[in-house]
Amino acid sequence: MSMNILLIIALSPLVGAIIAGFFGRKIGKIGSHLVTIASVAVSCILSIQVLMGLVNGEFTVFNQNVYSWMVTGDVSLNVGFLVDSLTALMMSVVTFVSLMVHIYTIGYMHDDPGYQRFFSYISLFTFAMLMLVMSNNFLQLFFGWEAVGLVSYLLIGFWFKKETAIFANMKAFLVNRVGDFGFLIGIAAVMMAFGTLDYSEVFAQLPQFADKTISIFPGVEWSLMTFIAIALFIGAMGKSAQAPLHVWLPDSMEGPTPISALIHAATMVTAGIFMVSRMSPIFEMSDTALSFVMLIGAFTAFFMGLIGIVQNDIKRVVAYSTLSQLGYMTVALGVSAYSAAIFHLMTHAFFKALLFLGAGSVIIAMHHKQDMSEMGGLKKYMFITFITMWIGTLALTGFPGFSGFFSKDIIIEATHLSDRWGSSVAYIAVLFGVFITALYSFRLLYLTFHGKEKMDNHTKEHLKESPWVVTLPLVLLAIPSIAIGWMTIEPILFGGFLSDAIHVLPQNDVVKEIGQEHFHGAGSFVLHGLTQLPFFLALAGFALASYIYLKKISIADNAKKTFRPIYDLLQNKYGFDDFNQKYIAGGLVSLGNLLWKWSDSKLIDGLIVNGSAKLVNKISKVFRGFQSGYIYHYALVMAVAVILFIGVHVI
């Protein structure tokens, strides 16, 4: 591996973005998409080469600085690359999905006036994401972290006339900033403790820090490693949309669908998962932090999935399913099954991108309508979309043999085996999450592709399969959605592929335990899966969805009436949005107004500043009276003074 290759991988999309961004009008639509697609394709091919090289043992781990960002005091902050198995895997996933999305965008954004701008943004995103995963230090990680946030902001608000879109992008950025606040505090703590932000230098010092404490409140000592791990994880909660910082992700669906697939499903939102895996040496030092991570993940996995059942907007269903799946990954992190989290991250990237792009294909056919209650029966109009969406759904619901099956089963199994505090609760959450996943996923399929055609006649007349630039990525993503689990479970999870990047304490290593005791090849794993509880739960979800949405739709309506309070609770998304809007955003604005009007304007400026000026004015008015200009006034004062003076002395 050479520095030059890595520089080309990282910078090529940036160059593409700059060309499309600044010269988009000159090179035109075709020029713009060609140049960005070429630039991402270069990154993708080279990334896969790097990954292959690492798998073959042709390359070794690469860790080198590119340039010195600054040297301040004894601290040297650098920009540099660390490329090991974990990074190479992420690079390949990111660039591959990005490439698919680039191609797909040609069809999806065909008539959009911001065509070139869109390509410029998604290439810029690819650059930012690569900087994030390729970083060898916290500084550059934070750069990539915020840069992907910036592009996410720009893309959610891509249709800047839409009020909901420009609210959603601001919300996304600000909620992420809350997470980044924790993240930055975590980085500052790392700096304080280790005196460096370089990963390898930090990790090398870790053993000496096991018993160090930090005092936040006087007299209370907390474990420093727990503090750092939780602070960093708060950053991950923002980016990877874990409750209660998940609120921005459903709203981000206001952006064009290609970026929902790329940024808000496959890549950016998994940055938190990646980061925690990268920091596994730190997290491994704190059981408390890992329990926290696990419980947050479990909550998100279960409760966000539930909301998916009541959504009617096709993209929002997929968005809640993304939240839920990110919850699964987070649970995996929490039980020290980092490799399982990364494995699920990878399979999820493929099938979730597929589902989003499939939903996008449906939306194109429906003339940009997203309400599933106006769809139905689309299977006979758009066959490729229909088939690939089924594949994606089977992968998502963990049908044995499909990619999601392997990754999700491992997470459930690992949670079951873990003896971390609270893991039994998490186990229940991820287990029943399977049932919910199947329920909302098949509901989506049935409402969209099966049953009665509920769209208006105008839409119906124009229904047709999307062009090849849309369906090709669907097919290309469907292949890994089926096969990637089968192909890679053994090397990634049990073959030690990620062992150069991920560090797990022997007593925590549940994945290894699964490998030794339960895993005897992918084939038998599938057979084994057919006899397990998750499979039956998924089957139950499938059966229930099939019965309701194919046979007796009235059940859904009745259930809605019978369980009104629960339905309302889910529709209101447990009230997170209302609470934030009313008490947090509203509270801060009221506080700002209060401080401005009373403290700044009335007290400081009114009373003290202008008040003192007025006081001077008043006093001088009094004294001005003495300077009347009449000689007899002055003579009188003199005479009185002389008399008094003499009087005082004489007496």
Binding site: Y67, S68, W69, M70, V71, T72, G73, D74, V75, L139, F142, F143, W145, E146, A147, L150, Y153, L154, G157, F160, K161, E163, I166, F167, M170, F173, L174, R177, V178, D180, F181, L184, I185, I187, A188, A189, M191, M192, I214, I216, L588, V589, L591, G592, N593, L595, W596, S599, D600, I604, D605, I608, V609, A613
Partner: protein, 500 residues
């Protein structure tokens, strides 16, 4: 090093040009503009060697000039720059060119007088950063008020008289105490040479009095909570060029004053009172951040945002004392404060220019009068979003660098310092992006917005130059750190040694 008197040339060239422009009279407006442009560009060119030939390996004053001025009182015309002053001098000459360019068409009344006042202002500001004699510093410090007073008072908005008087009295009030302190120090040490003043032994009690005298002058200038209320008014009433200079350079004189006077002259008092200044700085970050969020006038919003960002400067400077005691990255704190000053020079200038662009077209600064500007001014919108993001401290822009350094170093002093300072990540983004949302995005809000024309070549040139500066400093801050490193180390040595 060259034997040319670069610093004198820098200071006096704009003054001479100013008189020349005045001599042109009110009729020849075009010539006045051209002349002012030429003068500021030449000044910028003269300042380039300061950077190129700067010897970053020494903390000693460079490009020194010394001529006796009032020999009876041992006052000298003594100039020189070190790694702390040099970046600010170059910032001044750089921003000045852009300001002249931005005022090109906007100022229509008495162009020659405006340009002359402006060039004089530039001279005085350069003088402040170059002066090595405290009296000379004081003269420049005060003289600077006059052209600024005129710029706001003559070319300002409807409420300009109130704003100028407030600005003048506030600043004057502060600096009078500085004068008293300087006289006291002269009586103790018989010198006005700043470097020699720093050597005068002082008791803690003396230091405390002197500290507060300096503090009043610089806290008003920078400005710190609670002596900040002149700034929003001054900004609102000032013409765009005035706001740009005010925010980009004049505020920095406060920070520079702390570094040049307060710290070396009263190290023990500064150390004793660091907690007090840190508290005020953190109030600036949080309290002012909240106030910025609810502003209805764009200029006021940016003015409050400036105060909040300046909180990082004073925080970085005074956190250094806590770090010296505890053992932490003191250099990072002080250099962070310096970087923040330079970066804020670029970003605040750009933001005020952006507001100016809108104001020139719509004659209103109220956020609610805008909406959907991106539809009619896409290029402008791109710049505005970019600078708002820089203002929110996005990594990769200069706005991030200083804040990052100060937050990292303040964590080493005290967790809560970092906690409160880091809130700017949320508040800064909130007020910047909420403004962007309401002004730039959305449907075209009104007839007036639909009539807007995108920025001209001249306007985009100015903003593009600033954008490049912001990006460069964000991606590669090392060159800036490099020139100040040794000077900052020298300063740390000075303040680590007790005078008592």
């Amino acid at each position: 090093m060259s034997d040319m008197n670069y610093l004198s040339l820098l200071i006096w060239l704009p003054v001479i040009a100013a008189f020349g422009i005045l001599a042109l009279g009110p009729q020849r407006e075009g010539l006045a503009r051209l002349f002012a442009m030429l003068a500021s560009v030449i000044t910028l060119i003269i300042s380039v060697p300061l950077w190129m030939h700067f010897d970053a390996s020494t903390a000693a004053m460079q490009f020194e000039e010394k001529v006796s001025w009032i020999s009876a009182l041992n006052i000298n015309y003594h100039l020189g720059i070190d790694g702390i002053a040099m970046p600010l001098v170059v910032l001044t000459t750089f921003i000045s060119v852009l300001t002249v360019l931005s005022a090109w068409k906007v100022i229509k009344k008495n162009v020659h007088q405006f340009m002359a006042a402006f060039l004089m202002l530039e001279s005085m500001m350069i003088g402040v950063f170059c002066a090595q004699d405290a009296m000379l510093f004081y003269v420049f410090f005060e003289a600077m008020l006059i052209p600024m007073f005129l710029i706001i008072g003559i070319w300002g908005g409807p409420n300009r008289v109130y704003a100028t008087i407030k600005f003048f009295i506030y600043t004057f009030f502060g600096s009078v105490f500085m004068l008293i302190a300087l006289i006291y120090l002269y009586m103790q040490g018989g010198t006005f040479n700043i470097a020699e003043i720093a050597e005068i032994p002082l008791t803690l009690k003396e230091q405390t009095w002197i500290f507060f005298a300096f503090f009043l002058a610089f806290a008003v200038k920078i400005p710190m909570f609670p002596v900040h209320t002149w700034l929003p008014d001054a900004h609102v009433e000032a013409p765009t060029a005035g706001s740009v200079v005010l925010a980009a350079i004049m505020l920095k004189i406060g920070g520079y004053g702390f570094l040049r006077f307060s710290l070396p002259i009263t190290p023990d008092a500064s150390s004793e009172l660091a907690g007090f200044v840190i508290a005020l700085s953190l109030i600036a970050v949080v309290y002012i951040g909240l106030i910025a969020m609810v502003q209805k006038d764009m200029k006021k919003l940016i003015a409050y945002s400036s105060i909040s960002h300046m909180g990082f400067v004073t925080l970085g400077i005074f956190i250094a004392f806590a770090l010296i005691l505890k053992g932490g990255d003191t250099s990072m704190a002080l250099e962070g404060a310096m970087v923040q000053m330079v970066s804020h020079g670029f970003i605040s200038a750009a933001l005020f220019l952006c507001v100016g662009v809108l104001y020139d077209r719509m004659h209103t600064r109220l956020i609610r009068d805008y909406g959907g500007v991106v539809n009619t001014m896409p290029l402008f919108a791109a710049f505005f979003v970019f600078f708002a993001m820089s203002n929110a401290g996005l990594p990769g822009t200069s706005g991030f660098v200083g804040e990052f350094m100060v937050i990292l170093s303040s964590f080493q002093a005290n967790f809560w310092f970092a906690f409160l300072a880091a809130l700017t990540l949320i508040f800064g983004a909130a007020y910047s992006l909420w403004m962007v949302k309401r002004v730039v995005f959305g449907e075209v809000k009104s007839e007036a917005v639909s009539q807007l024309t995108d920025i001209s070549k001249r306007e985009s040139f100015v903003l593009a130059v600033l954008a490049i500066a912001v990006l460069f400093l964000g991606i590669y801050p090392e060159p800036l750190i490099d020139v100040m490193r040794v000077s900052v180390e020298h300063l740390i040595e000075q303040i680590s040694v007790s005078k008592v």
